[in-house]
Symmetry: C2
Subunit: 267 residues, 2 copies
């Protein structure tokens, strides 16, 4: 740990040194509330520059495998690292480890898919609430309907184009119908015949991590160009069920997941 300057030490230094004031222009407050030198938090949301979704896809797959940190770390890191390269500070101040906990739908509980969680956090750093709400709604909608892992990821693996090689054959694909890890993984195991603990299932989640991060960046790039338009069409069950259960009816349900995946329709 580096020692912090006291307010007095810092004032002594800065009064001896006019040039130090210019350092403030690089983003540093001379004296913070705690009486120590500190850096200004740049205003949120942070600046965005368009980045390459294919680079992000490969980083996502790599990050999934890195240190066993998994999907949420993988997806978050896959967007933060290119933004560090493209923008630099303040992205250099965010530890990508911040999102590790999302793995397996939050430490293996099977809630919202960790790749989604990691991508959401990155989107929120660069978008205000209404914009992030729209982009993340689209991302989750896409996730429930896309065949994952994508053909692109399967091809990267086969051609040895990923940054790490764990399994090179194309993997079976499925559309989860849900943003939940439990549903996504279990249905994929059912469809593919691979077990939940297999190398193939892990590699499937690794490729999916890259795919989700890449899709998030495609949406961010569209938005940066002023071109973002939602193309997600929710399943019919939501509209049907919400005729009664939504806020114009009984108003007793909150969700945007496909009702009939867990509930039997009733008259």
């Amino acid at each position: 740990m580096r020692r912090r300057l006291t307010r007095k030490e810092f004032l002594t230094l800065t009064t001896k040194c006019a040039g130090c004031v210019a350092v403030g222009a690089a983003g540093m407050s001379l004296i913070g509330r705690e009486g120590i030198a500190q850096v200004d938090l740049p205003p949120w949301p942070w600046p965005y520059r368009k980045i390459d979704p294919e680079y992000v896809r490969k980083l996502g797959h790599e990050g999934y495998w890195e240190k066993g940190y998994g999907c949420a770390y993988g997806a978050f890191r896959a967007i933060i690292l290119p933004l560090r390269e493209a923008v630099g500070y303040p992205y250099t101040m965010i530890p990508p480890e911040l999102m590790i906990w999302g793995h397996g739908g939050v430490v293996g509980w099977g809630g919202t898919c960790g790749a989604l969680l990691g991508a959401c956090a990155a989107i929120q750093l660069v978008c205000d609430k209404p914009t992030a709400d729209r982009l993340i709604h689209e991302l989750q909608g896409w996730y429930t309907q896309a065949l994952l892992p994508t053909d692109i990821s399967n091809e990267y693996a086969q051609k040895g184009e990923f940054f790490v090689q764990k399994y090179t054959r194309p993997l079976p694909q499925n559309a989860a119908g849900s943003p939940l890890c439990h549903v996504s993984v279990t249905l994929w195991c059912e469809r593919s015949g691979f077990t939940a603990s297999s190398l193939e299932r892990k590699e499937r989640c690794g490729r999916l991590t890259g795919d989700v991060a890449a899709r998030a960046v495609e949406l961010l790039n569209q938005w940066a160009d002023g071109q973002f338009q939602s193309i997600y069409v929710p399943p019919e069950s939501i509209e049907t069920c919400f005729t009664c259960h939504g806020d114009k009816g009984l108003d007793n349900v909150k969700a945007k997941m496909n009702c009939t995946q867990c509930h039997t329709p009733h008259p």
Copy 2:
């Protein structure tokens, strides 16, 4: 936006000014990779100091209501702000807005409860993966079984001790049996008779946000004292179902949620 110094401008300044080198001792790299003055990212995990869970509970409730940012922002901010006060930098570098997207189980989809998501991110800033995995498992287990909002929150509201007053009467409590927003909110509406869009339901989620953040801090404080012990006992169904579906059997399911809340047991 402040203008960044070029590498050349900065070198000119620093060679003119020996005192500036000492500024490096306050956490600032003289020249970063991009040729601009920047601050070192402190090693992760970040330092923790014990904070007051009751202060955190009130901040969580306040943050839920702030700008309509909701539960995930509320819980994350409720832990980050006291750490800014207790530790200062680097917590001053994280925008609490980072976690807004978690509201309503990720932009209203009803996945993992946003109050949990916000608290998880704060835990991960201060704990390595194995530690965060244990604390978050405990937090989620507690969430599924606790009567929420807690008696403490109901009492704060009644006595006017919250930082914001939206609704002062005690609210009905329920144990969600699940970490998912959809299940938690829907069962609470069923139990309480209040609608999903009502002020009462929102205030329920506001109090719950404080409760979840406070519980996370209780666990962090126990861990900081070397006193953390898991007391969560998972529902029996998980062990029963995983005899066949777990990694020593068919190995086709990933989850730690209560199976029988969504699935009918079969022979």
